[in-house]
Amino acid sequence: MKKTLSSRRFVLMGIFIAVGVIYIIRLLFLQVFDDSYAQLANRNALRFVTQYPARGLIYDRKGELLVYNELVYDLMVIPRQVKDLDTNLLCKLVGIDKEQFLSRMQKAYKYSSYAPSSFEKQISKEDFGPIQEKLYLFHGFFAQSRTLRYYPHSVACHVLGYVGEVNENNIKKNPYYKKGDYIGMSGMEKYYEDILRGKKGSKITLVDVHNREKGSFQNGEYDTAAVAGENLYCSIDLELQKYAESLMQNKRGSIVAIEPKTGEILCFVSAPFYDPNLLVGRVRGNNYMDLLNNIAKPLFNRALMAEYPPGSIFKVAQAMIALDMGVISPNTSFACDKSLVGCHQHPSASNVKEAIKMSCNPYFYRVYQRIIQQENPITKKIDSKYGLAYWDEEMKKMGFGTRLGIDLPDVKKGFIPDTGYYNRYYKGGGWNFYTIYSNSIGQGEVGVIPLQMANLAAIVANRGWYIIPHLVKYFGDENKKKRNTKYSNKHLTLIPKEYWDIAVEGMYEVVHQAGGTARKAKIDDIAVCGKTGTAQNYGNDHSVFICFAPKDDPQIALSVYVENAQGGGGSWAAPIASLVVEKYINKEVKRKDFEKMYMEVNPCQPLPLKRYIPKSKKK
């Protein structure tokens, strides 16, 4: 009996050993075969903090700072970790009420209970101080520093653009962006986003169960540093830009000035404009809606996106094409026959130069007729096709009807009708010169953007070639700038220089000779060459002027557009352009009264309360 009982020790030993073995097997599965627990432990204790790089700065052509960054803080929350929260204190510090608190928490929960989402954005350094002091009390909350854009001179909103938070589309398109990141939304900020934004880094910190930071993970071995964005050195001349904006402050329209030799944009105004600081930080939302709903559309970049009829400035291009085609000679004369097309009172032009000077409509009616039909009565129907195709091609060589590749987003092409277009429009090809003659004087189907007009001025100034207008000259650091090599190609029109010289002379006379249409653009010591335009439109005509100066060594070429101004190109656009030229070349404007008048008077017809009905292509 005793013996059997004594053997029971083996049963007990067996049980003890069995439990030990079961536990070791369990350990084997927990620790060795399953590595998901390691990830879970990391998710507990590791916090991935994004290191935001400083966005690149933007300087003007003389090194003046146009855009810089200012430090602000985002208060982030990880809903899962929020515990024992003193809601009252938090609300008081952040300056919200309990309902806002609850709705923000709900929103954060909806996004993710594990991942951080921003609770309060863009708290200024001053406001953040008291919050930081108490931050350790708020489990699950932490701060993330960010930078905001500031514009010390409040100018060039359409060039610089603005930065905003990424939307779903941005995230979908590029996985680099995470919710809450900033991205350039317009202007250079958008076009040069990749260069300006730099590269985000990430820092892994250890946190304890109360979400207190406990130092870096593995001595920062897995941290990546943020790489700051590169600076942009742009061609804008801050002084000139400010001046141009002051001229346009109460008007609608645009000024685009180019340095003809380089294609560098010197100033770029689309009016009405706004202070770019309005679209920064917490005030952004409301201001954006105000600007969006403003009837004058300040957000709309007229210089790139408004397709205007070019009006008479187009005549310069017409004349060059006709000369190059050989359908007219420099001395061809046409009578000012108002039965063909209306004109103002002036003697008939006896040559191309005079026609440009006087901007004679019937003259260019004839010129365009020759281009399209080559004046051959038998074959004119067939010839129209070839004539138009040739014309279309030449126009595109001058940058019309094609997208000029400026380094800004959302550039319109303008419109130069081609045979395909008319064949579609007049089904079966029932079109000829008489249906399209409005193009001759820059009306009709043609549409150009102010940038293309300024480019035409640059082409004339260069006597036949242009470099695509652009903004950025250099990238990178002050010390090691990299030249922007994208814009070094000369685009040739292949029209001989001697014809362009005629255009230059004509444009000189426009400003300097009796009978010229832009006598108001004359500056005493600068030889300005210009061409007026009066673009017919709904409401008052637009006042248009292109010019360049000085005549023999052009340093600036520009286009000025004043919407719905009373009077033609010579009355508003030309004097404004001359002020810009004087400011740029002489650094100082001597004609003070003249300047005062054009700065103060607003010639633009008030906009009707209802928006314009979109223009149709056919007049």
């Binding site: 003890f16 536990y23 620790q31 390691a38 507990n44």
Partner: protein
Amino acid sequence: MEKREKTIWENLDWTTVLLYLLLVFIGWISIYSAVYDENHSEIFDTTTRYGKQMIWIGVSLLIATMVILIDPKFFSQTSYIWYGFFLLMLIAVLAVGTQTKGAKSWFMIGSFAIQPSEFAKLATALALSKVLSGFEVDMKELKTKFYAILVIAIPMILVLLQNDTGSALVFFTFIFVLFRQGLSSSILIFGGAIILLFILALLINKYVLVGIIFVIMLLGYLFLRRKLSFWVTLLAFILSSIFVLSVDYFFNNALESHQKDRIEVLLGQKKDPQGVSYNVNQSKIAIGSGGFLGKGFLKGTQTKYNFVPEQDTDFIFCTIGEEWGFLGSSLVIAIFVILMVRLIKLAERQRSAFSQIYGYCVASIIFVHFTINIGMTMGLLPVIGIPLPFISYGGSSLIAFTILLFIFLRQDVSRLELV
């Protein structure tokens, strides 16, 4: 005198002492790591938990030495006195004790807290050994069974009244002792079957389970070599079916909600990582993330950053699992198994019945703590808050286990003396 003392130290089972010291050392290291704070890393800072544990270890070693030096007969002779004393303490703690974590099981004396239930196990072990070692005691007799169960049940009920269910469950371990002393093995099987049925009844459809029981019993009745009585089989079937069908009632009415939660979490019927399953979940993450070699001393993020609650007491095994990995934690398990097997071996070489029974008591108490505690941290058993012997932080637990073990080692020293 000198000579006698010399033989005491010579006859002491140093293997067991070594295992004991090893566990105490591992315990201290783990407590140090669990409460480690870079700003206060002095080892002897008595304001910290590891500093205090250091004092408890010193006290324990002192008491262990004293126990070894006391005459072995002292314990068997005074066992009823100790038993009575600690029963009174258990009653007293019900009256004037301090409530912590829902259990009223502590005496606060100054800044020290004493938990009488830790010592009640020891006293019960002494009393039970005394009862069963009486002359001509036979486990088969009803009277013996009655006394034995009485000795176990009184402290168990008192502990249960303190609302310390975990410590009360520990008293079930004496069934192993009774088994060794001749309790019918069917009781052990019966007990095992009840636990199994309870779990199965919660996991699978009860009627399916009744069907399975029927099939097993039928097969057993028809094909077992030793023929079972038809009526006994039928009775067993009916009883187990009733049991299975009443499990739900018991589960919903007899258990408290946190106990139900813990069982449901264990059986995977409830998932609430932030609530009731937080402890177990974080504990498993801690152990699981240790991998094969562990994250290294003081490198465990789960324990160092307090993701695991009770990480220096009931969940101390997490720290070991996280920092020392599979290698370290299976070593700890191995040490426990070796210790327990060693204790059985020592018990079997006793000549005195008291010493032998007491030896089994010691092994069984360590076993039940070991099983429940480690099983709980690995998510194999429901959360039952009892300490891991020699390792968990706590003076009462360490001192009680030390006395428990060293009384037996003292008996073992004198095993060759006349009883």
